[in-house]
């Protein structure tokens, strides 16, 4: 049972690692590379807390073996911010308080970032379907959806109303009518 030598790009940097055949990409990220932003929730592809971007597409890193990453380009939540500058999705999660315990947050950030890479103008419905593979047991999702739609507006160059305006009846709720 030899270890596998795997060469990848992780968050833009060439990374090589050794892994056991049964280790998932999530195991490798967390236990071998100390990239502990990706979380292990269900280990069965249901919760999305381990979401990473592989070659531009989101996947559950718990459902991919480390050895399968050979030659592929992986982006984790650690690679979303540009240095000290948060990605608009991260900034809007903060402003909207779109998290409580925070365990699901890295998965949501990565999945939402991938959505906005493909579509800068998603509808609320498209956003909810896209994020259906990410479970949050705290927020009830509404603040998360608001944060993602606001981040999209920022990335389109618009200046969305502050989160306080939502409390007065603006934002997503108003869009439903």
């Amino acid at each position: 049972m030899a270890k596998h030598h795997v060469s990848t790009i992780i968050n833009g940097e060439p990374v090589e690692f050794l892994c056991e055949p049964q280790q998932t990409l999530l195991d490798v990220l967390r236990d071998e590379l100390n990239l502990t932003g990706s979380k292990e929730g269900c280990s069965s592809g249901d919760c999305g807390a381990c979401t990473v971007i592989v070659d531009g597409k989101i996947v559950c890193s718990c459902l991919m073996l480390g050895a399968e990453a050979e030659g592929h380009n992986v982006q984790t939540v650690e690679g979303i911010a540009q240095g000290d500058k948060l990605h608009p999705v991260q900034q809007k999660f903060l402003e909207h308080a779109a998290l409580q315990c925070g365990f699901c947050t890295p998965g949501f950030i990565v999945a939402a970032k991938a959505l906005l890479d493909e579509n800068l103008n998603p509808t609320e419905e498209e956003t909810r379907y896209w994020l259906a593979g990410n479970l949050c047991r705290c927020t009830g999702y509404d603040k998360i959806i608001r944060a993602v739609l606001d981040a999209a507006a920022v990335m389109r160059g618009e200046n969305p109303p502050s989160p306080a305006a939502y409390a007065q009846g603006g934002g997503v709720g108003a869009m439903r009518t």
Partner: protein, 289 residues
């Protein structure tokens, strides 16, 4: 999972040799969205995993004169982004698209969904109704099998030791031919079919059905090909009498189980309703071509 080995060959022959020569359980890996879950839970304990995604012909979609060729390990996201296939067979693509989340679609494949052999596999009924053929590689060379001949029971397939699916050959639609797939789940996303139904019809210029295939999922140990339901459509327009006969034939074919997703009576009822609705969509699509 002690003593697990992993190999990622780049040719079909190497993969066949690796799978055939393993002394214990050897599993081909495409997207892994079922396989890794089963390994993690201890339901299966393979000695060898053979990753098929490094074999070029197993990934991608190409068109030949009268059919599409879809590589067995092509991920869902690559399939539903293919405009030609989506236009040709909207039912196949909408069935596949119903599997899991966006994350799952980034990995899950048609061959994996088929060979996992769940009675509720969403991509299978519309492949069956399109008369898709699986090209199977194995120690004795290649053979072709209709998709409905692959699954023999829950978790069981007709593939022998060392065999795996290389690609699917899906005939292109004839004029006025189209399909639809519907599944019923009690929520809007991320669930397993209570019932699934694919209908594929060919119409003549006046809208009369000249050929039909109907397949049901999640109502028997394997997906069903319901000839009686197809016969109810052939020679008819989609009038009330035809729909009633289709409904009855679909319900009669069901051999479901009672489980937390639905009772036997409920599944039989829903099978008829989905057959009616899927037929209406397929007729409309076929008529619009």
């Amino acid at each position: 999972m002690p003593n697990l080995n992993f190999t990622a060959p780049t040719t079909v022959d190497e993969a066949v040799r690796a799978l055939a020569s393993a002394s214990g359980l050897a599993k081909p890996l495409s997207g892994g969205t079922d396989l890794l879950v089963q390994m993690r839970s201890g339901r299966i304990r393979p000695e060898l995993i053979v990753d098929l995604k490094r074999i070029p012909e197993l990934i991608g979609i190409r068109e030949e004169s009268d059919h599409f060729v879809v590589g067995a390990a092509t991920p869902g996201v690559m399939i539903y982004e293919n405009e030609a296939l989506s236009r040709a067979w909207p039912g196949i693509v909408e069935g596949l698209d119903l599997i899991g989340s966006e994350q799952i679609q980034g990995r899950a494949s048609l061959a994996g969904n088929l060979c996992n052999a769940s009675p509720a596999a969403d991509s299978v009924p519309a492949l069956i109704t399109a008369r898709a053929v699986a090209v199977v590689a194995g120690p004795n060379g290649r053979r072709e099998a209709p998709v409905e001949a692959i699954v023999t029971g829950p978790g069981q397939t007709s593939l022998g030791k060392g065999e795996f699916i290389v690609e699917f050959r899906i005939p292109k639609p004839r004029p006025h031919q189209s399909d639809a797939y519907l599944r019923f789940i009690p929520r809007t996303e991320m669930d397993i079919a209570v019932v699934g139904c694919a209908v594929n019809v060919t119409l003549d210029n006046s809208g009369v059905c000249t050929d039909a295939r109907v397949s049901l999922g999640a109502v028997a140990p394997t997906q069903l090909v319901v000839d009686e339901a197809a016969q109810a459509l052939i020679g008819h327009r989609l009038d009330d009498d035809t729909l009633a006969k289709l409904d009855t034939a679909a319900g009669r074919a069901c051999k479901p189980i009672n489980d937390k997703r639905g009772t036997i009576e409920y599944r039989i009822k829903v099978a008829g309703v989905l057959a009616r609705r899927a037929a209406a969509i397929a007729f409309e699509r076929a008529g619009a071509r």
